[in-house]
């Protein structure tokens, strides 16, 4: 292999790493996502975080058969930025007991935030033909208005609220991020 080819291969590898990639994963009979290098923290939301404020993000993960949704899961996360340590903190709010934090993490670097949040989201396996081509779609939205305390009523994480949020067109003030996996089959995922 010539040096030029090696450099080209390395550049291609770095480009792949730099690209935002989501891929499906089968874990304990549930579907989830592997996310690599997802950068949804930017713009005004990032400015607000770096100004010491909390920003609430709603995550939706859908399993799609073409455009037909076969299943979806919705979660609300509250992010904040530690002004002294310069790292991010994330809190997942409960859906069963609204406005209650259930899991948290801290000292995350920017690129690891999405991975932690996505790692908290799982979809049950649908009973369909294992050869049917499917895709998974991730959608992230931040509230257009500042939610000072996401556990107050306006920050309610009731499932109905999240469904309503993702059913309406995005507000121009919102941060909206979507990523879709390549087409896959359940059969291929199950094969080690």
């Amino acid at each position: 292999m010539t040096r030029a080819r090696l450099i080209a291969l390395f550049t291609l590898f770095l480009h792949t790493l730099a690209a935002q990639i989501v891929s499906p994963r089968l874990n304990d009979g549930q579907l989830s996502l592997n996310a690599l290098n997802l950068k949804f923290l930017e713009g005004k939301a990032l400015d607000r975080l770096k100004n010491g404020q909390s920003v609430t993000f709603d995550f939706q993960l859908q399993l799609l058969d073409g455009v037909k949704p076969l299943g979806r899961t919705l979660h609300r996360f509250v992010l904040s930025y530690d002004l002294w340590e310069e790292t991010f903190s994330a809190v997942q709010l409960s859906q069963t007991t609204p406005r209650t934090p259930v899991y948290s993490t801290n000292r995350l670097k920017s690129e690891a935030v999405a991975g932690w949040c996505i790692g908290r989201m799982h979809l049950p396996l649908p009973f369909i033909d294992k050869a049917r081509p499917l895709t998974m779609q991730l959608e992230i939205r931040s509230a257009g208005v500042k939610l000072a305390n996401p556990m107050r009523p306006q920050g309610s994480v009731d499932l109905g609220v999240l469904v309503e949020i993702f059913s309406r067109p995005p507000d121009p003030k919102e941060v909206r991020f979507t990523a879709t996996t390549q087409t896959f089959t359940l059969g291929a995922l199950a094969t080690p």
Binding site: L36, N37, G52, V113, G115, M151
Partner: protein, 409 residues
């Protein structure tokens, strides 16, 4: 080659997110900075003084844990105290470890070009008064150009243009130029009535203290008379105005505003004036509003005016009562058709939701003549800042209601 693979491996490991979740600790704060304490909290770019209550609230937060909902409550409080400002909150590391600094920056919200209706009123005796203004704000300078046709403020109906320019010179000092050109119309005939007038006012405005302004300069008025013969007369004067404005927060939901002013207009032959007089006017207004004064549910205001002219003043500068602002219900042509050189007035004005009621009392007279204290009352409703009101003079003889509708009264 080994080196290359080692680099690839290291890059991959670094870019992979590390997933670890811990059960949430028993705390109700989701912001990681809530473990830090507030080292300093301040308000920047304040033109007016911060109320003592707000300052106490800011001071009380120093040393306390950082809470976003508390900071938001403080921001709302500042917003209600400074309604004409855009407020941004900056949070940063403090000087000491694990402490945070919070600063609120106030910027006066204004558009580069702003068109507004400065005057719009209908009075069943005085008919329409109307004014539009275009304000051009470039940097720290303001320019405005307006057209007005007013039959409410003075003895005359004046129609024409006015232009003003204001620019800062140094800190706390601004210069202002005002130019006006009007055609005048009067009811009836008199040798004192002029056909048109122009005015040029160069002034300086000095901010003595937050909310306290002193304005001084000159007013060069030229009046064009036609009766008994065409002639021009000048009413050049030195002008001085002292104004004070302060707003306080009463509790969390109410505001109290005090406005007071004194103005002196001294025309003298030494300035090239054909008139020689001194016009004194003192005004005060105290108002209470529930919530932000612009969107308050209820308001109560008390205002008073007292004025006196020493010497022979043109009709232009004489006092008037019986319009949309004073002795509402009285016809000004009945009280003093040529204006007068003495005046006292008091008004109480209350609004709850869309219902508004006013009570006015005052007297206007010419020195040496008897003065009569008059009263009037009015009731109406307010929708979107426009008031429609019926006012009556309180007297024993026949009562003719006066109907008024408009804004800014």
């Amino acid at each position: 080659m080994k080196c290359l693979f080692a680099t690839l491996l290291a890059t991959t490991v670094l870019l992979l997110p590390h997933e670890r979740a811990v059960a949430f600790e028993n705390t109700s704060y989701t912001n990681v900075n809530s473990r830090y304490r507030i080292e300093r909290i301040s308000i920047q770019n304040v033109t007016y003084s911060v109320s003592a209550a707000l300052q106490r609230e800011l001071d009380r937060l120093i040393g306390r844990p950082y809470r976003t909902e508390t900071i938001d409550a403080v921001e709302r409080r500042i917003r209600s105290e400074f309604p004409g400002f855009t407020i941004s909150c900056n949070v940063a590391k403090g000087e000491k470890q694990d402490q945070i600094r919070v600063s609120f920056v106030l910027e006066r919200s204004r558009k580069n070009l702003d068109l507004n209706v400065s005057r719009m009123a209908f009075h069943s005796e005085q008919k329409f008064s109307f004014g539009v203004t275009a304000d051009l704000n470039l940097g720290t300078t303001s320019t405005s150009l307006g057209f007005i046709s007013d039959n409410d403020e003075r003895v005359e109906r004046f129609s024409g243009f006015r232009a003003a320019f204001v620019a800062p010179v140094v800190k706390n000092l601004r210069i202002a130029f005002l130019g006006e050109a009007y055609q005048s119309r009067f009811r009836g005939d008199s040798e004192e009535f002029y056909r048109s007038r122009t005015n040029f006012e160069p002034t300086v405005i000095y901010t003595l203290a937050p909310g306290l302004e002193l304005r001084g300069g000159f007013s060069f008025n030229n009046l064009e008379f036609q009766v008994p013969a065409a002639r021009d007369q000048a009413a050049h004067a030195v002008i001085t105005t002292l104004r004070y404005l302060k707003q306080w927060q009463l509790g969390l939901t109410s505001t109290q505003t005090l406005e007071a002013g004194y103005s002196l207009r001294a025309a003298a032959h030494s300035l090239g004036s054909d008139f020689n007089y001194r016009r004194h006017l003192g005004e005060a207004r105290l108002s209470f509003a529930s919530g932000n004064s612009e969107k308050s549910k209820s308001t109560l205001a008390f205002s008073s005016m007292i004025g006196a002219i020493d010497g022979r003043a043109p009709v232009l500068d004489r006092f008037v009562l019986g319009n949309t602002q004073t002795l509402r219900g009285w016809n000004r042509y009945e009280l003093a058709p040529l204006g007068a050189d003495r005046m006292m007035h008091f008004s109480a004005d209350g609004r709850y939701s869309f219902v508004r009621a006013v009570y006015d009392t005052g007297t206007i007279w010419t020195a040496g003549r008897p003065k009569v204290l008059r009263h009037s009352a009015g009731i109406g409703f307010v929708i979107s800042g426009i008031t429609a009101m019926v006012a009556i003079p309180i007297r024993s003889s026949s009562i003719e209601p006066i109907f008024m509708v408009g804004m800014n009264f």
